[in-house]
């Protein structure tokens, strides 16, 4: 077993642990923190079913963003939808036998990589071209785009420029999952791609990527507009009541 294989195996165990426990911890914090008052933002549904539909539209179609700004929506939605397809496509490296629908996704996932880059490019361009967005951009915003773009670019490079030993790679990951380590191909583009992905997993719980779980906990979106019908108390507002 090469030092490289050991290093990457440990890296991916660590990255997975940080991602799962880090995001899980943030979700636990969000869930545990009370929301003392009702603050839904319109168009606020008056039923739980309505809230579920609202949330579904938000996370699948980015409804509010569409209403706010068509350019950001176009680039942002393209990027996220493409990322989803790419991730689904990658499931084939982690499953044996490969699920049939993952097979079906393969050709779309390939085009999606280009769409992903295009979406990222659009978002990045806004950070330079729109003075308002340039003002609010901090170094970490550029770094995050750079990281995602580099992941997409290195992935595409393996498809179109320098193929890697994909069979060996799959064996490596299946081995990791079964705690039965297999050698990792020592291919520079692959190593870069994997290191960048691990970096993304590691920064996820301490960065703005927390918007992904955060949106589900956002009281403006997930509260039912029924303040007059149902008495809502939590945290300090529940304590006031006991004090009376």
């Amino acid at each position: 077993m090469s030092a490289l294989t050991i290093a990457y195996a440990l890296l991916f165990y660590a990255a997975t642990g940080i991602l799962v426990f880090g995001v899980g911890w943030r979700c636990w914090v969000y869930a545990r923190t009370p929301q003392p008052l009702k603050i839904p933002i319109p168009p606020a549904p008056t039923t739980r079913g309505g809230v579920a539909l609202r949330m579904l539209l938000e996370v699948t179609l980015f409804r509010t963003l569409f209403r706010s700004n068509k350019w950001i929506w176009l680039f942002g939605w393209t990027f996220h939808a493409a990322l989803l397809l790419v991730l689904l496509r990658h499931l084939r490296y982690f499953t044996e036998p490969v699920w049939f629908w993952v097979d079906l996704v393969q050709p779309f996932g390939l085009y999606a990589a280009f769409a992903m880059l295009a979406g990222l490019g659009g978002l990045w361009a806004r950070r330079f071209l729109v003075d308002r967005v340039r003002y609010i951009t901090s170094p970490s915003d550029h770094l995050m785009l750079a990281l995602l773009a580099a992941i997409a670019a290195s992935g595409l490079a393996m498809k179109y420029v320098a193929h890697t030993d994909i069979v060996a790679l799959k064996a490596f990951f299946l081995g990791l999952m079964a705690f039965d380590w297999r050698p990792l191909p020592a291919d520079p583009v692959l190593l870069a791609h994997l290191a960048l992905v691990a970096a993304l997993m590691i920064v996820f719980p301490v960065s703005k990527l927390l918007h992904a779980p955060g949106v589900f906990f956002s009281p403006s979106f997930n509260q039912v507009d029924d303040a007059r019908e149902r008495r809502h108390t939590a945290g300090w507002s529940a304590q006031i009541v006991r004090g009376r």
Binding site: T64, L65, V130, I136, S140
Partner: protein, 495 residues
């Protein structure tokens, strides 16, 4: 109009301005003196060590609010909100972009409470809590009217109002308060209303109104105060008692109750619907001010609670009263929750209980300004969007000509009047005039196209603000009026 600033010009169409850094860096409201701070439970002034106290308070607030917890983590700086704030559109100061305003607080939160901010502050724009940062907070968190327009457009529903309220609460907790809001809250605690109008003076004012209405209509319309056993307790902003054009609204409510034969009363103990504690984000004061309403209702034995035309008061009543002062088990089971006066009036109109003569308003071409707290923080009637349809339906029942302003400037997307959220003070007049720009732009379009000459509103702050800023934009100050003034004009009374 002599002013140290220029009223922004209205172009042919709305423009998103280019960023002008520091354009409003000089805007700061007067600071509350220690004697105004103490009755609210705040330190009188900044004392050494305030930085640490502020950071600790911020941490407490975040740990007590899921909204803050989620909002401070979730912003991706996408920029969707950057052209949505009326203060940005009117001033071009980039710190008036909602995301930048949030970042004033988020940068400090990150520095002390997040991994990235603790270890890589330069990377994520984290900042220490310093006097310079505090000055920025004081200036720019008093350039937000907590109108929530930006949150309607945020893909994560991040509500800048929550952030502004938290920042103001932190500042108050270390002894840096705003004179205007804190002085008013003190008056409510001490006397019962924002104006500091004592009971006898209020009775006197109401007697005067009874005489005025008698003179104008020949009908004995009553303005009862502290009458035990009345069916309705009306809680209304104290501006309705004497300010123009508000007072015509109060006359309108009285005529509605009179025509429908509903017994009602005002209360000296709760002679104020406004609850400025919302603006400063302090929940102890919020609850204490709200509690007066429950006490007054129980004391007078009223069976219905009705709230007059006041934007943030309706937010507090609709969204928070049940939480803060409920349950309302003492109310009539047919009206088990507080109602807006527009709900009462519209219900009566639908039932045919009011006779309305539109010709009384024949000289008026009316448009309606949706007030932010009514539009984006509450509701009316039984269905979503009732807060938009009900006031318009009432107006249409009372006037011959009604037109709406551009759709992107009304309803959920309504633009703030520019004076909400505790900013309705002369020391912020430049901000108020500039912040009114988007609304004035939309108003100008319907004035030019349809000859609109009456801007109807259901918020005391909007009414005062427009009275003040309309002349800056070459409109007469009496163009603004109450929805219930239109009702009061149109209603046909019997003795």
């Amino acid at each position: 109009m002599a002013a140290a600033f220029e009223t922004p010009p209205l172009g042919e169409y709305p423009v998103i301005p280019l960023v002008r850094e520091g354009a409003m860096a000089h805007s700061r409201p007067f600071v509350a003196k220690p004697e105004l701070q103490k009755p609210l439970g705040f330190p009188g002034e900044l004392t050494p060590g305030w930085e640490k106290a502020a950071v600790t308070k911020l941490g407490e607030l975040v740990s007590q609010s899921r909204a803050l917890q989620v909002f401070l983590d979730s912003c991706v700086k996408c920029g969707a909100c950057t052209d949505k704030c009326h203060y940005y559109l009117g001033t071009a100061d980039p710190k008036n972009m909602p995301v930048a305003r949030q970042d004033l607080l988020r940068s400090v939160y990150r520095r002390y409470y997040t991994f990235a901010g603790k270890h890589f502050p330069w990377l994520v724009g984290a900042r220490d809590m310093t006097k310079e940062v505090l000055d920025d907070w004081y200036g720019y968190f008093h350039q937000c009217s907590e109108c929530r327009r930006c949150s309607v457009f945020c893909p994560y529903g991040i509500d800048t109002a929550e952030i502004t309220m938290a920042a103001r609460d932190v500042m108050d907790s270390v002894g840096l308060g705003q004179k205007y809001s804190n002085e008013i809250i003190g008056k409510v605690h001490k006397i019962g209303n924002n104006l500091g109008l004592p009971g006898p003076a209020l009775r006197d004012t109401l007697d005067g109104l009874e005489e005025d209405v008698k003179e104008a209509t020949g009908v004995d319309v009553r303005f009862p105060l502290d009458e035990k056993g009345a069916e309705v307790l009306l809680v209304t902003p104290s501006a309705d008692f004497f300010a123009e054009p508000h007072i015509d609204g109060l006359i309108g409510y009285a005529k509605v109750f009179h025509a429908a034969g509903i017994s009602w009363t005002l209360s000296t103990h709760a002679s104020e619907a406004a609850n400025f504690s919302l603006f400063i984000g302090n929940h102890d004061n919020l609850q204490k001010v709200a509690e007066r309403i429950r006490e007054a209702a129980l004391d007078l034995g009223t069976k219905r609670l009705v709230v007059g035309e006041c934007g943030h008061a309706w937010r507090v009543a609709y969204s928070f009263w049940n939480t803060l002062i409920g349950p309302f088990d003492f109310l009539d089971a047919r009206y088990p929750a507080p109602q807006h006066i527009c709900e009462v009036t519209w219900d009566l109109i639908q039932r045919g209980a009011l006779t309305l003569d539109k010709s009384a308003n024949a000289d008026r071409v009316v448009t309606f300004h949706d007030s932010c707290n009514v539009s984006r923080a509450s509701r009316m009637g039984g269905v979503p969007g009732g807060q938009f349809t009900i006031p318009r339906d009432i107006i249409r029942a009372c006037v011959e000509r009604f037109v709406d302003m551009a759709p992107e400037t009304i309803g959920e997307a309504t633009f703030c009047c520019g004076g909400g959220g505790g900013l309705l003070t002369d020391d912020l007049i430049e901000l108020r005039v500039k912040g009114a720009l988007p609304r004035m732009q939309a108003l100008q379009a319907v004035v030019d196209e349809h000859g609109v000459n009456y801007l109807a509103a259901i918020c005391a702050i909007c009414k005062s603000q427009f009275s003040k800023v309309l002349p800056y934009y070459k409109h007469p100050m009496d163009m603004i009026g109450s929805v219930h003034a239109l009702v009061g004009n149109a209603i046909v009374l019997k003795n």
